[in-house]
Symmetry: C2
Subunit: 192 residues, 2 copies
Amino acid sequence: MPRPPVSRLTADDWAGAALDAIGRGGLAAVAVEPLAARLGATKGSFYWHFANRDALVAAALRRWEDGHTEAVIRFVDAEPDPRARIRLLLATVLTSTDHDPVEVAVLASAAHPLVAPALARVSRRRLDYTAQLFRDLGFPAAEAHRRGLLAFTAYLGHAQLAHATPALVPRGRADRQRYIDEVVALLTAPAA
Amino acid sequence: MPRPPVSRLTADDWAGAALDAIGRGGLAAVAVEPLAARLGATKGSFYWHFANRDALVAAALRRWEDGHTEAVIRFVDAEPDPRARIRLLLATVLTSTDHDPVEVAVLASAAHPLVAPALARVSRRRLDYTAQLFRDLGFPAAEAHRRGLLAFTAYLGHAQLAHATPALVPRGRADRQRYIDEVVALLTAPAA
DNA sequence: GAGAGACCATACGGCACCGTACGGAGGTCA
DNA sequence: TGACCTCCGTACGGTGCCGTATGGTCTCTC
């Protein structure tokens, strides 16, 4: 079933445009009329596919939730060596922050009633997976959880800082490499 | 010069109310008319003290910038032992996140043209100070900077996570204690 | 106690967005 | 070909906010 390129819009088209808007201007940028103009349509189309703005925001968040997290986990989990897995995860997420404005934008609206539950699910999933990586390395559950939490919060803060003040995070290839090496070394250091 | 309690408002009153509003509802909550209602005044008062909304936002941010950061640094810097200083800093900021909504709210608007420079100044100051703590401990400058960055980003992420999903950060006194101990141990572990 | 200036209330116009009402174009099937 | 359904454009009213205009009130000063 071939679909004409722009003539008719689907709910998914709107959700995708909404997610783009979140990346550009945060949750507040998900506004029906500007989005319609951007899509070359009008509100008439939108209110056919969605009941209201909240429904659109929810759809965009569902898209985000299903997307990045699981993709990264699958990618990282393909690495067999436990220590290399941790390094791969950190390298992946610490560099991805440079080109993923959606991540920080969602975090920025953490208090929003629609964002909060989605963010909670994603955070728990990520934290659980990260803690698992440290258990795979042989750390007991409680300590693995603490190390995973440190790793996860460091990632969150890194994303935030890289977005707000890029000059403060390691930028060159070599510097970033060295930083990631050191973080992995510290996070996996044997217990005192 | 005694001042009647509410009858006449000063620019500082407005700036304080704006900072409160940021804590409650983010930067978007700094709206003249709702703030006026909250202060029991009208826009007439506001536009006497400020040229426009941006001027109020700027004043609130200046208040935030001058406030917390330097206070924490002075408090922590009073501790003579370098290692204890790091622990004190982490314990202070990691627990303060529970009752400081302003911090995350400002971070949430990092992209705002008025917020960005203020946030950049504060971040640089904090990061520099944290790196200094690790130099005090004997680490060479480059490594101290990397460890300071890890500590600082972990704090940022912790604040974010504690605000968005409180259930995911250590809550009990003992758990938090243990977590902070472990973070300090890992951050100050001797180089491999 | 009158004038000046600081401070504020009221009223207004404007803008950007939300949501609804309704009509019309295009395809589908009898 | 005509009835029908899907999808969308247009037009409208409503809301919340910004900023301005203007006049009033309080306080200080001489």
